[in-house]
């Protein structure tokens, strides 16, 4: 198995070439453009036989892969920041038409002001459009996810588009060692996409019709069933991926020192790796701290998150995103975690205290010292109550960069 020292976007491009995508549509915006540079080179060199189409903007870019997917093609697109929010209208039609389009998002702060730094708000703002949405924290994971997401999204039981997200710059542009599978392994894991009702002049079908109001609930319930049914498919796909590629990938969440943790940090994305260094230090001092990193946001791994966090006394949700005015007094993940802990069917004996940590906004790195600052607050929260619901770690614990 060849090992390459490449950044996240090159890992995604490597996987897309091996997945033999048929149609790629692009529109430039940094940082994700690295993906399209790699893919256009692959097409130009003859390494990949695909149509490479430029959109006139991101809205058109998504419409191109929507049409191509309806025609039966395996498709790849991507964007960053405001490029993710501009085509907002097109996301629901793609998932509603059950097109397994894959979109790579190397995330970036939304405007204003202009900021090239990473922040998760762009990708997370699409979470309610019926797409599978997962998050990688290392280039290796970007490679794994690209293949796994195609396999899951194209499964006849799922048929949903996939947001293949990772942190801009930290993952998209910083190289790391990536195990690249053999083509034979990829072929074994990922069969060619076979659309069930492709656009075909000989067998005409109509997509996206007007419906009567009484057809709405049933149609929406099929998407609800598909995305929750995807969990079984994810489990099976990851199991086979691990067998074929001799890997050890977690299907839903990454747990770090959670067995006996009294306090825990819930964190998405690349800063989780810095968090682990902080946890190693704190564990040496006897602090019973752990970490939960979700690999999916849609479907949200609620059962796994509830099970892992319910044993803790205090939980800190790291928010590298915004949702101004949200119920959790912080970003978009706090309400998700709280709902997973308290929502009916899951039995949680004692719901832990939850605080939010705004950290890493605008592409600001989150340092080990700042995770230790969070741990101190969590230790106090575990003894009784937090003194406030949200801590702006970037501002309250300034460290030299």
């Amino acid at each position: 198995m060849p090992k390459k020292f490449i950044p996240g976007l090159a890992a995604a491009a490597n996987a897309a070439v091996q997945a033999d995508v048929d149609v790629i549509s692009s529109y430039p915006i940094r940082p994700y453009t690295g993906l399209m540079i790699q893919l256009s080179q692959a097409v130009a060199n003859g390494d990949l036989d695909a149509e490479f189409v430029h959109g006139e903007g991101e809205h058109g870019q998504l419409a191109i892969v929507h049409g191509a997917s309806l025609a039966g093609a395996r498709t790849m697109t991507g964007s960053s920041g405001v490029g993710v929010t501009y085509p907002m209208e097109v996301y629901s039609p793609i998932s509603g038409d059950r097109c397994p389009v894959q979109m790579v998002i190397a995330d970036r702060t939304l405007d204003p002001p202009g900021d090239f730094g990473q922040e998760h708000t762009d990708a997370l703002s699409t979470k309610d459009q019926g797409w599978l949405l997962g998050w990688a924290s290392l280039p290796q994971e970007v490679y794994d996810n690209t293949l796994i997401y195609y396999r899951v999204g194209e499964d006849p039981k799922v048929l949903l588009p996939q947001m293949n997200c990772h942190d801009g710059y930290f993952v998209s542009h910083i190289a790391n060692w990536v195990n690249i599978g053999e083509q034979s392994q990829v072929d074994e894991f990922l069969p060619p996409y076979k659309a069930q009702r492709p656009l075909d002049p000989l067998r005409p079908v109509g997509h996206g019709p007007q419906i009567y109001a009484n057809q709405g609930p049933a149609l929406e319930a099929t998407r609800f069933n598909a995305i929750w049914g995807a969990r079984e498919v994810i489990q099976q796909a990851v199991k086979e991926y691990n067998e074929i590629f001799k890997r050890d990938v977690d299907p839903f969440v990454e747990l770090y020192h959670m067995d006996d943790a009294e306090i825990a940090i819930f964190i998405q994305g690349c800063h989780a790796h810095t968090c682990k260094y902080a946890i190693d230090d704190l564990r040496k001092e006897g602090v019973k701290i752990g970490m939960v990193r979700p690999k999916w946001i849609r479907p949200f791994p609620s059962p796994e998150v509830a099970e892992a966090l319910s044993k803790c006394k205090a939980v800190g949700v790291v928010e590298t995103n915004n949702s101004f005015g949200a119920s959790g007094y912080a970003g978009q993940l706090t309400p998700e975690v709280c709902a997973a802990l308290v929502k009916g069917a899951v039995k949680v004996d004692k719901v832990p205290q939850v605080a939010s940590f705004m950290a890493g906004l605008g592409g600001h790195p989150v340092k080990i010292e700042q995770f230790k600052f969070m741990a101190e607050i969590l230790a106090k929260g575990a003894k009784g109550q937090f003194d406030k619901p949200t801590y702006w770690v970037d501002l309250e614990c300034e460290v030299e960069m």
Binding site: R197, P209, Q210, A218, L219, T222, G229
Partner: protein, 116 residues
Amino acid sequence: MFDTKKLQVPIPAHLEIPEGGVVESPKPDGEQDQFPSGGWRILRSVIDQERCTKCLTCWLACPEPCIELAEDRSVSIDLKYCKGCGCCANVCPVQCISRVPESDFKGDVEFMDEPF
């Protein structure tokens, strides 16, 4: 751990609908018969058959598609579904498609009630 299989919503048989609401084999008097959109039209495209060169540019450009093609390549408009967008008139290279207010034709087409 909560088993998310329990979340699956049973869909009553009379409301079953294919994934994405896809309509198999749309055809006249077929499934889409219940969704006529001709009633939305304000301006009707009228083709001057004598000047028409049968180039089929309108047939390609119609977004619905409501340009019907005869065996001799002459074109006509499916008034049951044409929404009157005017794309055909706009692209016609010999400008043989004119736009006429629908009120001028009152009575010649049976107007369907819109579904909404």
